[in-house]
Every structure is written in C-alpha cells, then in structure tokens.
Amino acid sequence: MAQHVIATSPAAALPPRTGLLLRVVPPGLYVGRARTLVRRAMLTNRRSWLPVVSGLVEPFFYLLALGVGFGKLVNDVTGPGGTPISYTAFVAPALLASSAMNGAVFDATFNIFHKLKYVKLYDSILATPLGPVDIAIGEISWALLRGGLYSAAFLGVMAVLGLISTPWALLAFPAALLISLAFAAVGMAATTFMRSWQDFDLVNLAVLPMFFFSTTFYPLSVYPRWLQIVVECLPLYEGVAMMRSLTIGGVDFGLLGHVAYFAVMVVGGGVVAGRRLRVLLLK
C-alpha cells in the first residue's frame, strides 16, 4: 500500500532570513518560498497543456495573414534610415509587444481573479507559512515563464522568416519580458479592485483599443498631431516603439526612456497590488 508522506515544515525549518527582501518586508508577508507557487502552476497545467501550447499558434496565424493578405494591399513601409522594409517586418515586432501584453494581462486579471474569488486558492495558501508577497512573486514568475516561452518562439519564427535585421534583436527577448512584467503588475493591481466578471469588460475596453491604436498596423503619422501625443503616452505604444527599434534598427537613447516607463509600471503596479492583496487576504 502506498504511504503518504506528509512533509511537516515547522518554522524552525524555514530558511534563515538573509536576503534583502526578507529583511525589508515585514515578517509574515514573505518567507522566500514563491517557487512553490510556480511548481503548483506547473502541476495544475500538466493536464491542460493545450491552452498553453496553442497560445504559440495564434501569433503565427497573424504573421501568416500579414504576409499573405494585408502585406499585399500596401506599399513597403519606410524603415529607420529611410530604407524600405516589408509591411510584415513592420508589424511583426508590434505583434510581439502586443502578445506580451495580452498574455500578461489575461493571466493577471482573469486567471488571478478566478483563483482569488472562486477557487479561493490564496486563502488556502495563506494558511501555510507563505505570505502575500510570495503569492505575488510566484504568480508573476509563472506568468513570465509562459510569456517568455511565447516570446522566444515568436522571435525564432521572425528570425527564420527574415524579419529581423539587426543584432539588437537579442535584446528583444528581455524587452518582451519587461513588457509582460509591467502589464502583469498593473493588471494584478487592477484585478484587486474588480468586483465581478462584469467588470472584466473594462479590461477588454482598455486592452483592445490599445492593441489597435498603438501604431500596430500603421505608422504614427496617420493620426493628427494631438492624437499622436495621446497615442505616444499609451504603454503599448512604448512597447511597440521599443520592439521596432530593437528588431528593425534605430536604437538610440530613447530606448532608456521606454525602459524607465515600464519600470515605473512595474513598481507602481507592484506596490498597489501588494497593498491591496494584503487588505483583501489578511484582513
């Protein structure tokens, strides 16, 4: 007969509080065990790998549609330095940034809300030594692992199709992770304010127009000047601009501006999400 071994972990067996985060965060909020959440996510997804893997396919349908369909309707686009580039090469980096955003937002809103409100997963996790900060780090790491898989695959296909024309593209992978992280942090913060599924139409209301209007399918010059300024403030526009400069060329110091923009999103979203989760889960 199989015997169940129940691992007991008394407080004494916890790792000593040595890391910076462990010293800064009040005790009880973080015990440095976020990786158990990632392991849990992997276990639960083992049986439903189809949605995870099929997420790889979707961007390729879009690339294919661009090459076969949309690209044939338009002229080549003027790339950096005045050299013409194909329409597909123009849109592909934007799709990469958008898919990083979509994956992160979907994970951080729908999935987390489901676990927060219906499965009550976090309530049971908090009954263990893990704290809310472990939960936040664990969930975000899992989202990044998934997002990273998609981004790497997408970049690989872009390279094979000859849509990459600069070695800077190596940085496109960490850039995609940064975009995911920023949107995951803000999405998670937003989720803590959601009351019911009805509120999720607001998520679509924010994400879809941003997807369409952040110069994904056509250059910024299409808009009148005042609208250009509005668009330039959108987070996805920042992501698209960053990806374009990394894959088709034109890297300059503006890149640091994009990075700073996302860093602000990460920190701001993270702080709000952490505070709200504490209120929702521990009080």
Binding site: S48, L50, P51, S54, G55, V57, E58, F61, Y62, L64, A65, V68, G69, F70, K72, L73, V74, N75, V77, Y87, W197, Q198, F200, D201, N204, L205, L208, P209, F212, F213, F217, Y218, P219, V222
Partner: protein, 275 residues
C-alpha cells in the same frame, strides 16, 4: 419573525404550451438575465466591430495602395459590409460557448427549465431566438456607427445585415451543439475553438482581403467556412452583383449549416438532459 410570503397558486390547466410559445418563454428567461447584465456585453458586441472599422478601415486603410482592393473601392467601404458577418460570428462565439455550458454545469438552468413541460428541443430553439435578437441589435448598432463615419455606400447594406445575421446563426447553431457536448468545465475545448476556428476564420475567410490572395490549395478550406459565404453575400448585397445562382448556393449552404446545427443541438440537449 419572518414575514409571511403569499404566493398565488393557480390551479393547473392540464395542458402544456406549444413549441413556439415554449421557446419564447426560454427567450424571456435569457432576457430576464440580460436585463441585469447587459453592460458587460456592450463593448464586445457593439464596440468591437466599430473598433475594427476605425482601426482597420480608416487606419490601415490609409496605407492601402489605390486599386489594391477589388472594384476600385476605398478600403473602408470594402471592409464595412464584411464586418457584419465577422461581428456576428464573434457574438455567436461568445453567446454559444460558455453560456451554454453554464446552463448545464454552473447555473444548471437547462435542468431547471426541462423539469417543466418545456422540452430540450424547445430550449435549443429559445437559445436561437436569443442569439437572433442579440445579432440583430448589435448589427443594427454597428450600422449606425458605420453610416456615421461614412463607410456605407448604399442601402444594400441593410440586406448585408440580414446575411450577416444568417451567418452568425449558422455558426452559432453548430457551436451550441458543440458546447452541449462538452463535459469538462475547464474551458479548454472553447479555447481550442477560439484559437483554431474563430481566429483563423476571421483572418483568412475574406473579411480583410480577398481569398484569391491565398494559395490555391488553401482556398477550399475557406469555402467551407460560414464566414466566407456570409462575406460574399454581404459584399454582394452592398456593391453588387448578386447573381441568382451563386447567391442561392451561398444562402443554401448557410441554411443547411443552420438546420444541421439545430438538429445536432436538439439531439445533444436531449441526450444530456433526459438521461
């Protein structure tokens, strides 16, 4: 002490309502729910096609080479009627997946309804009435916006609306049959449908560019989709020509899908609700 609630009890009449009236009662149930929750669907059913029209029709359209679209049309005008079947398919995909599974597994309302004299087949019919009303309302709202931005070239687009609704009904009926067969509540089956059917169909079945641009060996796949038939009909209705022969073939195909979907759905509902 709890207040006493007086429920008027009417004596049983001894006979049941007919199929039409029963299905309209199911429709009334859907409406009673929707009345309280309509806000959550406004954006996805009306806003989304409008967004496509503005972003792709106006934005992307500004980049399209003159003469690249058949018939010497602007891209905005070319896209406007085709977004009717495309939007209808999107709405149908939303209405005929999770809500149907919910009726069996979460809210279990189908079990409740069929505990009355209403039959599974009548529940299916009621769901289709509901889909029809959703498609008509969101299609009409889209037309108002499309006209306002100057995307409409003639009154023929009213006929395009009818064809768009037919496309959504044909696809929706098949989806209802599929959703009634899904046992797992994980939603993975629907994710697969969205990713491998709805998205490719939206991209490649002629909405955004003519399928003549596809490689010859892929085109027969597009011919199988309800979206392509709906798109051909919707464009034909607005821009012409709409020759009798081919039009009847398109309509017959969509009606055949609709009837097949209805029969399959009735069968799946019976299996799930009476055994």
């Amino acid at each position: 002490m709890a207040a006493e609630v007086v429920v008027p009890v009417r004596p049983s009449t001894g006979h049941t309502v007919g199929t039409l009236r029963a299905s309209l009662l199911v429709l009334e149930q859907a409406w009673a729910w929707y009345r309280r929750n309509w806000k959550a669907t406004v954006f996805s059913s009306v806003g989304l096609p409008v967004l496509y029209l503005l972003a792709m029709g106006l934005g992307f359209g500004s980049q399209v080479r003159a003469g690249a679209v058949p018939g010497g049309l602007t891209y905005l005008a070319y896209l406007a009627p085709a977004l009717l079947p495309a939007g209808a398919v999107q709405t149908a995909a939303g209405e005929c997946t999770y809500p149907i599974l919910s009726g069996f597994e979460w809210s279990k309302i189908f079990h409740g309804i069929t505990a009355t004299p209403v039959t599974p087949g009548q529940v299916v019919l009621g769901q289709l009435w509901w889909l029809l009303s959703r498609l008509l309302v969101s299609g009409a709202a889209y037309l108002v916006v499309a006209t306002a931005v100057g995307a409409v070239t003639g009154p023929g687009i009213l006929l395009s609306l009818v064809f768009g609704v037919l496309t959504g009904m044909a696809f929706g009926a098949l989806l209802i049959a599929f959703a009634a067969s899904v046992r797992s509540t994980s939603g993975n089956a629907f994710t697969a449908i969205f990713r491998f059917v709805v998205v490719p169909m939206s991209l490649f079945a002629g909405t955004f560019f003519p399928i003549s641009q596809l490689p010859a060996w892929v085109r027969p796949v597009a011919w199988l989709t309800p979206m392509w038939h709906g798109t051909e009909l919707a464009r034909g209705a607005e821009f012409g020509p709409l020759p009798w022969g081919i039009t009847l073939v398109h309509i017959a195909y969509l009606v055949a899908l609709l009837v097949t979907g209805m029969l399959l759905a009735r069968w799946r509902f019976r299996v799930r609700l009476t055994r």
